[in-house]
C-alpha cells in the first residue's frame, strides 16, 4: 500500500513521540494519540493519513520504555516507521504491536514522497523519485512476531513463546 513520507531528524525520543506530561491519558488511547510528536510538528495527528510513513534518522525511539510511543504511532494509522537506526526497547515495542520498524538509508526519502514498503521483497519503492532500494532484512524473530500479528496474538496462538524454533 502506498503512503506519504513524514520526515523527522535524529534522536527522536519517546518523550518527543508522546510527552510525559500526557501520562494521565495513558488509559485513554484515542485522546493520547492526538498528542503524537506535537513538539516536533504541531497538529501532526490531524495532518497524517492512514497508511503514511514516519521516516527518521538515527536512534529513533530512544529513552523511556513507554509502549504508548509505538501505540500512538499505530493508532494514527502509520503503516511503518523507517529510520537509520532504532533504540532497542522501542524497536521491540513496535513489532510486539504489529508495527514494522524498518532500518534503511532514509536519506533517500524526502518529506512528502509517495512510497511503498514491500516487506516480503525487502524493498522500498519511491514513486516520487522513481527509484527502488533495499532495506536491512528484518531479523527472523521480528518477522515471526509480525506474521503472527504481534506478540499478544503469538502468545494467544501458542500459549507460550515459540520464537526460537
Amino acid at each position: 500500500m502506498k503512503g506519504k513520507v513524514w520526515k523527522f531528524g535524529d534522536s527522536i525520543s519517546t518523550d518527543h513521540i508522546i510527552p510525559g506530561r500526557y501520562f494521565y491519558l495513558r488509559s485513554n488511547l484515542p485522546e493520547l494519540s492526538k498528542h503524537i510528536l506535537e513538539y516536533e510538528r504541531p497538529g501532526f495527528s490531524e495532518k497524517v493519513s492512514s497508511g503514511d510513513f514516519i521516516v527518521a534518522g538515527l536512534n529513533f525511539g530512544l529513552g523511556s520504555s513507554r509502549e504508548h510511543a509505538a501505540l500512538v504511532i499505530k493508532l494514527n494509522g502509520i503503516q511503518a516507521v523507517l529510520a537509520k537506526s532504532f533504540a532497542r526497547i522501542f524497536y521491540r515495542n513496535c513489532f510486539n504491536n504489529g508495527l514494522p520498524a524498518v532500518i534503511c538509508n532514509t536519506d533517500r526519502l524526502a518529506e512528502g514522497d509517495e512510497i511503498e514498503l514491500l516487506l516480503e521483497e525487502g524493498k522500498i519503492v519511491n514513486y516520487t523519485r522513481n527509484e527502488t532500494f533495499p532495506f536491512s532484512v528484518l531479523p527472523p524473530v521480528m518477522k515471526r512476531i509480525l506474521s503472527d500479528g504481534g506478540l499478544v496474538e503469538h502468545v494467544k496462538k501458542y500459549k507460550d513463546l515459540k520464537l526460537t524454533e
Binding site: 534522536s11 485513554n28 520504555s65 509502549e67 532497542r88 526497547i89 499478544v152 507460550d160
Partner: protein, 415 residues
C-alpha cells in the same frame, strides 16, 4: 563467557552465545504505574487469569506518587484490583522508585530481571541481567515467567585509577556516554571492570548501571563481589549473595578504557545525554531549579554527598531545590542520621519518595524558559514539563554546589 552469556545460558537451560535468540526464565518481573495498566490489559487480552509467579511480580506506584490527577488515581485503583485478584505484590505510593526498591529487597546476583521501565538496568549493579522492556514484553514475562532476548555483544568498560575529589559514579557514566554516544551501545551489554569499579560502593555502581540505557545498552553489568555482599548484608539478604564473574574465555566485541584520575565533574547539556561538558567548560548557566533524587541518584550515599556541601550553607535565594528520596528506606535513614535536617535548614524542600520531577508529572514541573540542574538520568526536550525548558544533568555534588550559587557550579571548591 561474558556475564551476559553466562546469566542468559543459565536461564535458557543451555549454552547460548552472542547473537543467538534465547527464551529465558525470568526471576523477577515488575511494572510501574505508567506501564502497568497497559501490561494488565495485555495479560487480559492474552486470556490469562493467573500469573506465573505472583510473589516475584511487583506493581510499583512510583511515577504518580502520590497521584496528582483523577485519571492516575483510577489507574492505580485498576492495578490494585488486578493485583488483589492475582496475588501480585504492590509497592504503593510513597514506598519508592521500583529500581531502588528491587535493589533493596529483590534483585540477586545472577538473576534475570524484566521491568517495564527503561531504567530497570539499574539491577545490573548487583550482577543481575536486568533490562527494561515495554508493557507487552512485561505482560508475557508476568504471565509465562519467560522472555525472549537476543544474547547481546558485550562492550567491556575498564575504569582504572582512583577518582579525584568531587568526582563520582555519575561523572564516570556521563563521561562514558559523552565518549561513545547515546547510541554507542545499542542492543549491546556493557560490562564494567577495573580497580575504580572494584572500589566503587553500591550506590555509585547503581548510578552507572542505571544510565547504561542512555548509551542504548540492554544491560549494564557489574561482577558481584565483596561490595555486593556488603549491600545484601545491609539489606538483611546476606544468604542471597552469589559470586558472578565473567569466565576467563570471555570475548568482548569492544573495550573502552577510562582513566579515572583524569575525570572531572561532568554535565550533560540540553537536550541529549551525550551532549556532555566538564564543569570547567560549562560557562555561566543560571538555574531556576535544582533536583536531587531519582533512580539514578536518590540514594542515601547521594544525599550524604550533597549534604556535606550544603551543611551550614543556604540555597541561592531566587531558586528552589527539590529533594526526592529514592525509597521509603532512604527517606527513613536520611531522617535518622540528620541528612534531611541539613537539606531543610539550607532551604531545600523534600518530597515523598518516588520518581518525582524526572517524569514531568508533578513535584517540580518546569515552565517555559526555565533551567534545571538535575541528578536524573535523562534530559530530553520537554521531559520535566515545558518543551521550552532546559535540563542539565550532574552529580549530587554538582547539584548541591549549583543550589548554593544559583548557577551550575564546581563542587570541588566545597570539598
Amino acid at each position: 563467557m561474558t556475564l551476559a552469556e553466562k546469566i542468559l545460558s543459565e536461564h535458557a537451560g543451555k549454552k547460548v552465545r552472542t547473537g543467538e535468540i534465547a527464551v529465558v526464565k525470568v526471576d523477577l518481573a515488575y511494572t510501574q504505574d505508567g506501564t502497568g495498566p497497559l501490561a494488565v490489559r495485555k495479560i487480559q487480552e492474552m486470556g490469562f487469569e493467573k500469573v506465573y509467579n505472583p510473589q516475584r511480580t511487583i506493581f510499583f506506584f512510583d511515577h504518580a506518587s502520590p497521584s496528582p490527577r483523577i485519571e492516575l488515581s483510577n489507574d492505580h485503583a485498576f492495578l490494585r484490583d488486578f493485583a488483589q485478584k492475582t496475588g501480585i505484590r504492590v509497592s504503593d505510593v510513597g514506598l519508592g522508585i521500583s529500581h531502588q526498591v528491587v535493589a533493596e529487597n529483590f534483585v540477586r546476583p545472577g538473576d534475570v530481571v524484566i521491568g517495564a521501565d527503561s531504567h530497570t538496568c539499574t539491577g545490573g549493579a548487583l550482577g543481575a541481567f536486568a533490562t527494561g522492556v515495554g508493557s507487552t514484553d512485561a505482560a508475557v514475562a508476568i504471565a509465562l515467567g519467560k522472555v525472549w532476548l537476543r544474547v547481546p555483544e558485550t562492550i567491556q568498560v575498564i575504569v582504572e585509577g582512583s577518582l579525584p575529589i568531587g568526582v563520582y559514579g555519575k561523572d564516570i557514566i556521563l563521561h562514558l556516554i559523552g565518549k561513545i554516544g547515546a547510541a554507542g551501545a545499542t542492543y549491546k551489554a556493557l560490562e564494567f571492570q577495573g580497580d575504580t569499579i572494584e572500589n566503587l560502593e553500591m550506590a555509585g555502581r547503581m548510578t552507572i548501571a542505571n544510565m547504561a540505557v542512555e548509551a542504548g545498552a540492554k544491560v549494564g553489568l557489574f561482577p558481584s563481589d565483596e561490595v555486593t555482599k556488603g549491600w545484601l548484608n545491609r539489606m538483611g539478604r546476606s544468604k542471597e549473595f552469589r559470586g558472578m564473574i565473567p569466565e576467563a574465555d570471555a570475548t568482548y566485541g569492544e573495550t573502552v578504557r577510562i582513566n579515572a584520575r583524569e575525570l572531572k565533574p561532568t554535565i550533560a547539556c540540553p537536550h541529549l545525554v551525550d551532549n556532555t561538558k566538564t564543569v570547567d567548560e560549562i560557562g555561566e548557566v543560571k538555574v531556576d531549579q535544582v533536583f536531587l533524587g531519582t533512580s539514578c541518584n536518590g540514594r542515601l550515599e547521594d544525599f550524604h554527598i550533597a549534604a556535606r556541601i550544603l551543611k551550614g550553607r543556604t540555597i541561592y535565594p531566587k531558586i528552589r531545590m527539590i529533594v526526592t528520596p529514592g525509597s521509603h528506606l532512604v527517606y527513613k535513614e536520611a531522617l535518622k542520621d540528620g541528612t534531611m535536617e541539613i537539606f531543610i535548614e539550607s532551604g531545600a524542600l523534600v518530597t515523598s519518595p518516588g520518581c518525582g520531577g524526572c517524569v514531568g508529572l508533578h513535584d517540580g514541573v518546569l515552565g517555559d524558559g526555565e533551567v534545571c540542574l538535575a541528578t536524573q538520568p535523562r534530559n530530553f526536550k520537554g521531559r520535566m514539563g515545558s518543551p521550552k525548558s532546559f535540563i542539565y544533568l550532574g552529580s549530587p555534588a554538582v547539584a548541591a554546589a549549583t543550589a548554593i550559587e544559583g548557577k551550575i557550579a564546581d563542587p570541588r571548591k566545597y570539598l
